[in-house]
């Protein structure tokens, strides 16, 4: 089975979120980048599990600058066979998705996996856009994925519950929690990653459909009002009269 996993970098989940250049740019000062957790923990690890049971290859692809190669090596250390970096700034989801689709078309991938969203932009857009660009079916927010010959059987998050679906290959799937367990790269993996092929390819000419023009932080909360654990009537009354939420 030939699997492509789209990965993105994202700031470490404990990063301080701040903006610079008059609040138009994310402040990267002191920020540690990681492989976006959904891409790594669920999409990549499930791809590796499938390769281990069914054979085949796992290729990772990212749209990014040379500086992102540290993040790519981490994904290789976990076990991907090879990596492709499309040399461009991932301007928006459409730009990113079309670059990946351009790379993937006619390469004969059976399955294309990504995380359900990045933890920085939370758009949930790229996987569906790759699917449309390649005219493949798309299953979003999958929590379980099994391969049965040329058919995928999946469970996906669906309106507060779970839906079981079936789809023929090739297909695009975005992966959510439940799909696989996080793997920590071992020393052998880290050593091997240094010599695995990392191909850099030029970007295609693609439009940007949206742009982020600025960022704001949520307004600061006013001080917490403490209530005695013996006086829940007071809390209920505050929720009704002051907060007006019940």
């Amino acid at each position: 089975m030939k699997i492509l996993v789209g990965i993105s970098k994202s700031p470490d989940t404990t990063s301080k979120i701040a903006f610079t250049d008059n609040s138009t740019k994310f402040d990267e000062n002191g920020v540690q980048y990681i492989v976006n957790p959904y891409d790594e923990w669920y999409a990549l690890v499930r791809a590796l599990e499938l390769k281990e049971t069914l054979g085949g290859t796992v290729t990772i692809v990212t749209v990014g600058a040379a500086a992102d190669e540290a993040v790519i090596r981490k994904a290789l250390a976990i076990g991907a066979d090879e990596a492709v970096r499309i040399d461009a700034d991932p301007k928006d989801a459409y730009y990113t998705a079309v670059q990946i689709a351009e790379y993937a078309k006619e390469k004969g991938f059976d399955l294309i996996l990504t995380g359900k969203e990045t933890i920085n932009y939370n758009g949930s857009q790229v996987a569906g856009m790759i699917a449309e660009s390649l005219d493949m079916p798309f299953v979003s927010l999958a929590t379980k994925l099994d391969v049965n010959g040329s058919t995928l059987k999946l469970e996906k998050e669906y309106l507060g519950g779970i839906q079981e679906v079936e789809v023929g290959l090739p297909a695009v799937v975005s992966c959510a929690k439940g799909m696989a367990e996080q793997r920590i790269p071992n020393m052998r993996g880290i050593m091997a990653a240094r010599t695995k092929p990392l191909t850099v390819i030029p970007a295609a000419q693609v439009d940007e459909l949206i742009s982020f023009t600025g960022y704001t932080m949520p307004p600061a909360k006013s001080a917490v009002k403490m209530i005695s654990p013996d006086n829940m009537d007071e809390l209920v009354s505050l929720l009704h009269n002051e907060a007006k939420v019940i």
Partner: protein, 312 residues
């Protein structure tokens, strides 16, 4: 301006649908396109919130992403809509990106407000830790609206319901089963949420959380360690790697308030934190705090809510 709002009618028309129609109405003349075997009275209700026309394909129930994309594309072409509005739920995440490519229309995911004066639209970024302003560079726009971002407005209008043939082609993603919790309030659209964490010590103790939720008419949620330990189902996990919610009231018991958890809930209007540890970081993000044992405080709060409900 002509606005098309996509509503999934397969599971009935809910509050989020009224929010999306209200949002669309603020932008222009609203046509709703919907699918699923939903009754006309429920559809007509959308007219009260500002839809002037409703296109429905009742035969399309278990439609997949490509079929819904084609249906909405056909409806957009028929109505000449320049803006398409989705409820930012699991279906929108499946369909809106496809439609964006197909129409070459910029997609604003997780919008939390109407467009600002300069036309940019605010969205949640960094898992709710900040807001971003999005400018759409294309003539056609797609806006996927986060639940609980706008107050639905019933203006008592009415809409013509027309049957619509989606011309959606074959199903490629076949639905084998749909399991939805019976009678529960779906977490993403709940106004009131009661959530608990490791402080509850074990899944067998969730009764006191459910009792409070029931008394309030709230949905239940949990923190990541609780869903990781399988005490509660994954879909209840709120936080950076779970879901982000924006209820009016979020009550958190036995959750310390790690930054990753706060990311999922800091869009809540009012936050109540119950914790034995007065130094728990969650108190800094709370509106009301109770230092106490959840096992004592939750039942007391449930009783107080019942007493309040009985007298109001």
């Amino acid at each position: 301006m002509s606005v098309l709002v996509y509503i999934n009618g397969v599971h009935g028309i809910g509050k989020n649908a009224f929010e999306a129609v209200t949002y669309g109405k603020k932008l222009g003349d609203v046509t709703v396109v919907t699918n699923g075997n939903v009754d006309d009275a429920a559809l007509a209700k959308l007219g009260e919130y500002g839809a002037s026309k409703i296109l429905v394909d009742k035969s399309l129930n278990n439609a997949d992403d490509q079929q819904l994309t084609k249906m909405i594309e056909n409806a957009a072409n028929q109505t000449g809509a320049s803006t398409i509005v989705f409820v930012h739920d699991h279906i929108a995440k499946n369909v809106a990106p496809r439609l964006s490519v197909r129409l070459k229309a910029g997609l604003v995911s997780g919008a939390i407000a109407l467009p600002d004066g300069d036309g940019t639209i605010k969205v949640n970024v960094f898992s709710g830790k900040a807001f971003g302003s999005v400018k759409v560079n294309t003539a056609k726009k797609i806006i996927s609206l986060l639940p609980n971002s706008i107050q639905p407005e019933n203006n008592g209008g009415s809409a013509a319901v027309e049957s619509f043939s989606a011309n959606a082609g074959d199903t490629k993603v076949k639905v084998l089963a749909t399991k939805q919790p019976e009678g529960d309030i779906p977490l993403p659209e709940a106004d009131l949420v009661v959530s608990a964490g490791r402080g509850l010590k074990g899944p067998e103790n969730w009764g006191i959380v459910e009792d409070l939720a029931k008394a309030l008419g709230a949905a239940t949620a949990c923190s990541r360690p609780v869903s990781d330990a399988d005490w509660r189902p994954h879909h209840e996990h709120v936080g950076q790697t779970g879901i982000a919610i924006r209820p009016n009231l979020y009550i958190a018991a036995g959750i310390s308030g790690a930054i990753q958890h706060l990311a999922g809930v800091n869009g809540s209007k009012t936050i109540v934190v119950i914790n034995t540890d007065p130094e728990a970081p969650f108190f800094k993000a709370a509106d009301y705090g109770v230092v106490g044992d959840a096992f004592e405080v939750l039942p007391r709060l449930t009783e107080a809510v019942k007493k309040f409900k009985a007298s109001h």
